[in-house]
Amino acid sequence: MTPAPRGVTLRGVVKRFGSVTAVADADLEIRPGELMALVGPSGCGKSTLLRLIAGLEEPGGGEILIGERPVNDIPPGDRDVAMVFQSYALYPHMTVAANLGFGLRVRGTDRGEIEERVERTARILGLGDLLARRPGQLSGGQQQRVALGRAMVRDPGVFLFDEPLSNLDAGLRLRTRDQIASLHQRLGTTMIFVTHDQTEALSLGQRVAVMDRGEILQVGTPDAVYRRPASLFVAAFVGSPPINRLGLSGTDDGGVAGGPFRFATDPPLAAATLAVRPEDLTVTPPSFRPDITPPVRADFTATVLRVEALGSEQRVHLDGPGSATWIARTPPSLRVDPGDPVHVSVAWERTHLFGPDGSRVGAPPRPIHILRDS
């Protein structure tokens, strides 16, 4: 029933629109049966990449393979791919059944088989009652499911999703996300999923490809992308609240320093950025006197600006280190108020240092000297 899933391989794919480079030299290997999320800010080229795979855009260079087959010169309909569009792109003058069966009909599939497949798909997606309706008579969520069904009905080797959830409200988005995940488990088909929402990408993708300005910056599991971002951009783009950053400048002895911190680097850097996830900061209220009873080593002190109590967690906005404003994620049990001076310690083994070009510099930094505020 379900054909073998196909992998997708991009080799040095380039796409230019006039003087704008939408996709620059993209290399990407998507394994058969994998759910790959393409994520990046708007205009980063992720949709163009998807359209290149679908065959809706002609690459300016490079090679695209679906399965083992180069598809550069193969029209979209013959690539064994199906696509779900952001706007759903349902044909408004056709019933749901006709929308679902259109891809089969234009291929000249036998009428009985079309009916059978449409019915099967409708059953899976719970569209059975809607087959005689037209898209205009459906709710957004129903339209989304029809668009999904139109892709499913042809049993393609690769599913392409172009921001399929962005037109749904928050609750429906979560449910549809689950639905797509379970669909992927059930069908085992290769799925490529474009989104600008990093949470969505991390929650759905088995692997995530982060793009910016037409370049694929990092490909990896959600965990890898989150914990070991390859660049400052990836670090900043992935994660909410965003990663804390502090600009560092080179010192005479070849290290970098900023705020209360100072690091040795090898080779020497002219400038660098320290990045720390909010959960990697430990905030100690002032009643603890670490200088008297030091259960926790304090890396810097700061003043609380604002406290966001979110129930399961708490976000503490700090006016440091240095001139930066950092956010720490703390247990809700921590009692601090705006204006409180606090001591903050950093889980250095989970911090990141990025060079002036934004690329990752070696292992997590260890401060050689912490300048005490006071």
Partner: protein, 603 residues
């Protein structure tokens, strides 16, 4: 709310219909009376004219009192009025006559037999009752006691008022006319007797309907003066030239006339207005002002009926009145310049309305009936239908061009401009240029054909080719405009649909069939309807290029109507044609809506 809004409208409609029937009956009677009077007076004049040899002073004085003799040629025998069109010397009198008075005596008994006010009132009452019952059934809220009754009473009272007023008006009008006519007749008797005619001849001259003891009898029984009355008249010492007079004859006393009659003065009220201009004459019958007054009264009544239910709720009334106050200027303009002429043309189409003929007798649907039998009119309609076949062809070409000239390259933009130009150029300019291009003798097209050894074609002078030539030019003219509209339609089709279809495996032809055509359906519908209507109304091309020829091969409906009105001056007939054409266009458009738009609405 809907029921409440519909009720006054329906009541108003019923009322207007009732009033219209009432007025129509009265006007019809009045028109018949006028026609009869015209014939009667014409006969008198003819007889007197013949009796006197056209020279006698007495006859002349009679004629002078109500007639102006003009030496104009006898009119074409086109009128099918009551009685035969007169001929001989009397035709002059007939033609010049101010065809004003009506024979009250001849008409009134018939009118009396139709008890107009009671019937109309009964009709109105019945309608109002039905309407009230309907209103009670429709109202969701419990009916306010008395509401239906108020509506019913108002409608009844208003209709009764209109009916009575109309009746009185017609009555008075006919009475006055009959007085004048009786005066004419009596003076004609006197003139005939003075000319030395024997009493019987004098009676025949007058053709006077007689009344016995002031009781009116049917005119057909008393159209001829009894012999003994004629003898008694002749025996009078001086022939009676003024009324009333009484003649004793046999055992009865005969009263002639009802009141004393002065010679008709030109300014007599309700006399038809006689206009003579450049050899054409027109008489404006008093029925037109009557109709106008009645229409105004009906509209006023409809307004009152509309406001009546609202007056129970002052805020709503205020809002409605305010809204209508703002709408009034536009509504007034529409009424005067759109609906007014429309209704007037309908009125004309029911009358024999010839520009050189001052009377416009009511002929009902006769002209429509004649048109159904008129081969030329059918040919014009057929030519129009054939010409309209250029619309689908033009649309196909325009769609192809629209698909070909998408994009913004310079060459494409220039091509679009070139194709669009004919659409914004004056039809007359286009027609003149094409007429020159396609001229048989010196036209460049034929010279080009000749220079490459082909036989020249009689583009506009051959009955087989001329209409096809016009159709081709029609295509050329509309294609650019249609193309631009199609392009707008194409631009409105989301690109995603095409992308989805491509991923679904649809080729270019399938994409055109399943995405482009359904996506353009509203545009196609719009272009089809407007183009077909435009094609039905084609005029300029034909007027300039072929004038309907050769041999009527390009005589299309509007051109035919134009000729009927402005060359043959038969406005009544032309108006009837216009209404037939309107009905056809309306039917065609309605069919389009039914067949195409309903399908589109399903989609």
């Amino acid at each position: 709310m809907r029921g409440r809004a519909a009720l006054p409208a329906l009541v108003a409609a019923a009322f207007t219909a009732g009033a219209a029937v009432t007025i129509a009956v009265a006007a019809r009677g009045l028109g018949d009376a006028q026609a009869a009077a015209s014939g009667s007076i014409a006969r008198m004049a003819t007889e007197l004219w013949e009796l006197s040899g056209g020279a006698d002073e007495a006859a002349q004085s009679f004629l002078d009192s109500g007639f102006a003799i003009e030496a104009v040629p006898a009119p074409p025998a086109s009128r099918a009025g009551p009685g035969k069109p007169p001929s001989g010397p009397g035709a002059y009198a007939y033609r010049a006559g101010s065809l004003q008075p009506a024979v009250w005596i001849a008409v009134l008994p018939q009118l009396r037999e139709f008890p107009l006010p009671p019937t109309a009132t009964a009709l109105a009452l019945l309608g109002s009752l039905l309407m009230s019952a309907w209103a009670v059934a429709r109202r969701r809220a419990p009916p306010r006691p008395g509401y239906p009754a108020i509506v019913a009473l108002t409608a009844t009272a208003l209709l009764g008022t209109v009916a009575t007023t109309t009746h009185h008006w017609a009555d008075g009008e006919l009475e006055a006319l009959s007085d004048r006519h009786a005066g004419h007749a009596l003076r004609a008797v006197g003139a005939a007797l003075a000319l030395g005619a024997d009493p019987e001849r004098a009676v025949r001259v007058a053709g006077l309907p007689w009344a016995t003891s002031a009781a009116l009898t049917r005119p057909d029984q008393l159209w001829t003066m009894p012999q003994d009355v004629g003898a008694a008249l002749a025996a009078l010492p001086t022939p009676p030239t003024a009324t009333p007079f009484t003649v004793e004859a046999g055992s009865a006393t005969w009263h002639a006339g009802l009141v004393a009659l002065p010679a008709p003065t030109p300014t007599a009220p309700s006399t038809a207005v006689h206009i003579a201009l450049l050899g054409y004459e027109e008489t404006r019958a008093p029925t037109v002002p009557l109709a106008a007054t009645a229409t105004a009264a009906s509209l006023l009544t409809a307004l009152i009926l509309f406001l009546l239910p609202l007056s129970a709720r002052p805020p709503l009334l205020r809002r409605t009145v305010t809204a209508w106050a703002f709408l009034a200027p536009a509504a007034l303009l529409l009424a005067i310049f759109t609906f007014g002429p429309l209704l007037f043309s309908l009125w004309i189409s029911l009358h024999e309305w010839h520009l050189v003929d001052p009377v416009h007798p009511f002929v009902g649907l006769d002209q429509y009936h004649q048109l159904v039998l008129d081969g030329d009119w059918w040919a014009a309609l057929r030519n129009t239908a054939v010409f309209t076949l250029h619309v689908p062809l033009a649309m196909a070409v325009a769609l192809a061009l629209a698909l070909l000239t998408r994009g913004s390259r310079r060459a494409v933009r220039l091509a679009r401009l070139a194709l669009f130009l004919p659409g914004i150029t004056s039809v007359v300019a286009i027609a003149v240029v094409w007429k020159w291009l396609l001229n048989d003798g010196y036209g460049p097209v034929n010279r080009l054909l000749g220079s490459v050894g082909l036989t020249p074609v009689a583009w506009l002078t051959s009955p087989e080719v001329a209409l096809i030539t016009l159709m081709a030019i029609g295509v050329w003219m509309v294609v650019g405009y249609q193309m631009v509209v199609f392009q707008a339609g194409l631009a409105a089709i989301p690109r995603d649909w095409y992308d989805a279809a491509r991923v679904d495996g649809a080729g270019p032809v399938q994409r055109f069939r399943h995405i482009t055509l359904p996506g353009l359906r509203h545009t196609l519908f719009f272009v089809l309807v407007t183009s077909v209507i435009g094609s039905f109304q084609v005029f300029g091309l034909v007027y300039v290029m072929t004038e309907g020829g050769p041999l009527g091969a390009t005589d299309v409906a509007v051109y035919h109507i134009y000729r009927e009105a402005w060359e043959f001056l038969r406005f009544g007939n032309a108006a009837a044609m216009s209404w037939i054409l309107f009905a056809l266009v309306f039917a065609a458009t309605w069919l389009h809506f039914r067949l195409l738009e309903r399908r589109a609405a399903d989609a």
